[in-house]
C-alpha cells in the first residue's frame, strides 16, 4: 500500500510540472501580458524602453522554458507579482476570491451531495416506482440545463416574477453579490440569504449527476451474489441494505466525487459571474477581460493542482476502500 502511494505521488509531480507548463504557455499566449500592459498604460506604448523594463521586471525575457522556471520559482517562494491593471498585489484579492468560492463550493457540495445521494438511494431501492421515474426525469433535466440558464431563470423568477406577485419593494431573495452594496463586516443572516440562489444553481448539477451515479451503483450492488448470500443468512433487510449494499455502492461514488472537482469548478465560475458573487469565477472572467496574466496564472495553477491532487486522493482512497483493487 505504502509503495503504491509513493509511486502515485511520484507520478503526480512530473504531471503537475507538465500541466503547469502547458497552462503557462497557453495563458501567456492567450493574454499576451506585454500587449495587456500597453493597453492598460496607453502612454508607455510609445516608449520602448519602458515596455522593455516591464518585460524584464516581470521575467518576460528569454526562452519559454526559462520564463516558466523563473515564474515557477517566484510562485513557489510566494512572490505572486502585481496585476497589470491597477498594479495591485495579486495575492490579497485572490485570497478573498478563493475564500468566497470555497464557501459557495463547499455549501453547494454538502447540500447537493446529501440530496443527490438520498434521492439516488430511494430511487434504487424503489426501482421503477413513481418516485424513481420522477427523479430520473428531473435528473435528466438537471444534467441538460446549462448552469447559466438555471441561474438566469432563477434570477428572473426571484427578482421579477415573484416580486411582482407579492408586491414587495425589494426582491424576495437577493440576486447579486455576497452582501448588499455598501455592507461592512460579517452578518450570517445576510450571507445565507445571498448564498441561497447561487448554491441552488451549483447544487442542481450535483444533485442531478450524483443521484444517477448513486442509483446505478446501488442497483449494481443490489443484484450481486453477496446480497443474496446475506439475505440467505437471515440478516434483516435493513441491515442488508445499510451494512452491505450502501457501503459497497459508495466506493465508486467516492472516486467520482473526488475527480469531479473539475465539473464543480466549471459550475462555480459560471454561477459566480452571473450572481456577481465575488469569487474566483468572477475574478477569472474579469481578469481575462483585461488580459491580466499575473492575476490569471496563480488561480489557474491552483485549479489545475487541486484537480491533480484530488485525482491522486481518489486513487488512493479507492485502493484503500476496495481491497480487490490490484495495486498495479
Amino acid at each position: 500500500m505504502l509503495r503504491f502511494v509513493i509511486r502515485r505521488i511520484a507520478w503526480a509531480i512530473p504531471i503537475l510540472l507538465l500541466v503547469t507548463f502547458l497552462t503557462f504557455w497557453a495563458v501567456k499566449a492567450g493574454t499576451d501580458p506585454v500587449a495587456s500592459y500597453i493597453r492598460a498604460n496607453p502612454r508607455v506604448g510609445a516608449q520602448p524602453e519602458k515596455v522593455q523594463a516591464y518585460r524584464e521586471a516581470n521575467g518576460l525575457v528569454g526562452s519559454l522554458p526559462e520564463q516558466y522556471f523563473r515564474w515557477l520559482g517566484n510562485f513557489l517562494t510566494g512572490d505572486w507579482g502585481t496585476s497589470i491593471k491597477g498594479n495591485r498585489p495579486v495575492w490579497p484579492e485572490l485570497k478573498d476570491a478563493l475564500a468566497n468560492s470555497l464557501v459557495l463550493g463547499s455549501v453547494s457540495v454538502a447540500v447537493g451531495m446529501t440530496i443527490g445521494l438520498l434521492v439516488g438511494i430511494v430511487s434504487a431501492l424503489r426501482q421503477y416506482s413513481k418516485f424513481d421515474t420522477a427523479a430520473t426525469t428531473a435528473a435528466f433535466a438537471g444534467i441538460s440545463i446549462p448552469p447559466f440558464v438555471s441561474a438566469i431563470l432563477l434570477q428572473v423568477f426571484f427578482a421579477v416574477t415573484l416580486t411582482a406577485w407579492l408586491n414587495t419593494d425589494s426582491p424576495v431573495l437577493p440576486v447579486a453579490g455576497v452582501y448588499p452594496p455598501g455592507h461592512q463586516g460579517f452578518d450570517l443572516g445576510l450571507r445565507i440569504k445571498h448564498l441561497v440562489l447561487p448554491v441552488t444553481v451549483v447544487a442542481i448539477q450535483i444533485i442531478a449527476v450524483y443521484s444517477r451515479y448513486m442509483r446505478a451503483s446501488l442497483l449494481e450492488v443490489k443484484n450481486s451474489d453477496y446480497m443474496r448470500t446475506a439475505r440467505a443468512k437471515g440478516i434483516s433487510e435493513r441491515k442488508v441494505v445499510t451494512r452491505h449494499a450502501l457501503r459497497n455502492s459508495m466506493i465508486p461514488i467516492v472516486t467520482v466525487a473526488a475527480v469531479d472537482i473539475g465539473g464543480i469548478v466549471g459550475g462555480l465560475i459560471i454561477t459566480e459571474r452571473i450572481f456577481q458573487y465575488k469569487g474566483t469565477g468572477d475574478y477569472l472572467i474579469g481578469a481575462l477581460g483585461n488580459g491580466d496574466f499575473p492575476q490569471i496564472m496563480p488561480l489557474m495553477v491552483l485549479i489545475v493542482s487541486s484537480v491533480i491532487i484530488m485525482n491522486l486522493l481518489a486513487d488512493i482512497t479507492y485502493a484503500w476502500l476496495d481491497p480487490r483493487i490490484r495495486l498495479g
Binding site: T31, G266, I269, I303
Partner: protein
C-alpha cells in the same frame, strides 16, 4: 440383420406439420438492427425526445420558410420589447426584432456547432482510441497519460483559455478560426471533447481484441485492416454513436455558455447563446420572454439529445432484456 434391429420407421412427417413449430421452437429471425430498433421504440422518453427534437430540427432547418420574419428584420424601437402577441408570438427585443424568428435562425448556429463538434470529436476520438487500443504498448500508454491529465481539468476553464488564443496569436487564428466564428467554436469544443470518446473506444477495442472470434480471424490469416473494418468497428459503432450523441448535447450547452459570456459566437449573430446574452441586460426590467423562450428551447433541445443518447445506449446493448 440391420432391418430387424432398426425397424424402418417413417421419418418423414406429414408435410403440414413443422417439427420445430410443434415443439414451440420457432423463432422469427430478427436482425440485430431490428432488435435494436425494437428496443429503442420501447424506450418511451427516447421516442418522445425523437419526435420533439425532430420538430425542432425541421423548424430550425427550414427557418427561412418557417420563421415569420427575417433573422435581422428590424421593426424599430417603437415595436421593441413587446410581450408575446399575435404579431410577435414570442415577443420582440430592444430593436423590435421578432424573437421567434431569431430563435429559429439562431438554432441553426447552435445545432450546427453541436453536430459539427460531435462529428469531428467523434472521428478524431475513434481513430486515436482505436489505434491506442489495437496497437497497445507505448502509443497506448502515452495517450492514456495524456487523456488522464485532460479529463480531470475543468472543461470550461480550458475552453475559456483556448478561446483567448486567436485574439493574440496569428497561428491560432489560422488553426482554430477567427474569434467569434462558428469554426472556432467547433474546433475548440472538439479539442476538449474528443478525449472521452477516445477513452471509451480504446476500452472497447481492448476488450474485443481478446475475444475468440478475433483470435480465429487472425488464425485464418485475416489482415489487420480486415479485423478492424469487419470486426472491431462494427462492434464499437454503438459506443461511438452514443458518445457522439452526448457530445452534441454538451457542445450545444458549451456554445451557449461561452456565447453568454461574450466568449463564443459573434454577438451580432443570432445563436441560442447570444440571444440569452443580450437578454441578460434586461433581467430586472421584466422582459421575461427574452430570457424564458431561448432558455426553454435550449433546455428542451439538450434534454432531447440526452434522452436519445440514453435510448440509443440501451438499444445498442444486446444484453438488454427483450422481455422487460
Amino acid at each position: 440383420m440391420a432391418d430387424t434391429l432398426n425397424p424402418p420407421i417413417d421419418t418423414t412427417l406429414p408435410a403440414e406439420v413443422d417439427l420445430d413449430e410443434a415443439e414451440g421452437l420457432v423463432a422469427e429471425s430478427v436482425s440485430p438492427t431490428r432488435m435494436a430498433l425494437r428496443r429503442y421504440r420501447r424506450h418511451k422518453p427516447a421516442m418522445i425526445a425523437t419526435i420533439v427534437l425532430g420538430i425542432v430540427s425541421l423548424a430550425v432547418l427550414f427557418a427561412p420558410w418557417v420563421a415569420p420574419y427575417g433573422e435581422n428584420e428590424i421593426f424599430g424601437a417603437k415595436e421593441g420589447f413587446q410581450s408575446p402577441n399575435s404579431k410577435f408570438w414570442f415577443g420582440s427585443d430592444s430593436l423590435g426584432r421578432d424573437l421567434l424568428s431569431r430563435m429559429l435562425y439562431g438554432g441553426r448556429v447552435s445545432m450546427l456547432v453541436g453536430i459539427a463538434s460531435a462529428l469531428s470529436a467523434g472521428i478524431v476520438g475513434t481513430i486515436i482510441g482505436s489505434i491506442a487500443g489495437f496497437r497497445g504498448g507505448r502509443i497506448d500508454n502515452t495517450l492514456m497519460r495524456f487523456t488522464d491529465v485532460f479529463i480531470g481539468l475543468p472543461l470550461l476553464v480550458i475552453l475559456i483559455i483556448m478561446r483567448q488564443l486567436p485574439e493574440t496569436q496569428d497561428w491560432a487564428r489560422i488553426a482554430f478560426g477567427e474569434p467569434g466564428s462558428i469554426r472556432l467554436m467547433v474546433t475548440i469544443i472538439s479539442l476538449v471533447t474528443w478525449v472521452t470518446t477516445a477513452r471509451l473506444i480504446r476500452g472497447q477495442i481492448l476488450s474485443i481484441k481478446e475475444k475468440e472470434y478475433i483470435e480465429s480471424a487472425r488464425a485464418i490469416g485475416a489482415s489487420d485492416w480486415h479485423i478492424i473494418s469487419r470486426h472491431l468497428v462494427p462492434n464499437t459503432i454503438g459506443t461511438i454513436v452514443v458518445a457522439m450523441t452526448f457530445i452534441v448535447a454538451a457542445a450545444i450547452g458549451l456554445e451557449a455558455t461561452l456565447s453568454y459570456f461574450g466568449l463564443g459566437i459573434d454577438p451580432l449573430r443570432a445563436s441560442w447563446g447570444t440571444l440569452l446574452a443580450s437578454s441578460g441586460n434586461y433581467i430586472s426590467s421584466g422582459y421575461w420572454w427574452l430570457v424564458l423562450f431561448p432558455s426553454l428551447i435550449l433546455l428542451i433541445t439538450i434534454m432531447c439529445v440526452n434522452f436519445i443518447g440514453d435510448g440509443l445506449r440501451d438499444a445498442l446493448d444486446p444484453r438488454q432484456d427483450l422481455q422487460k
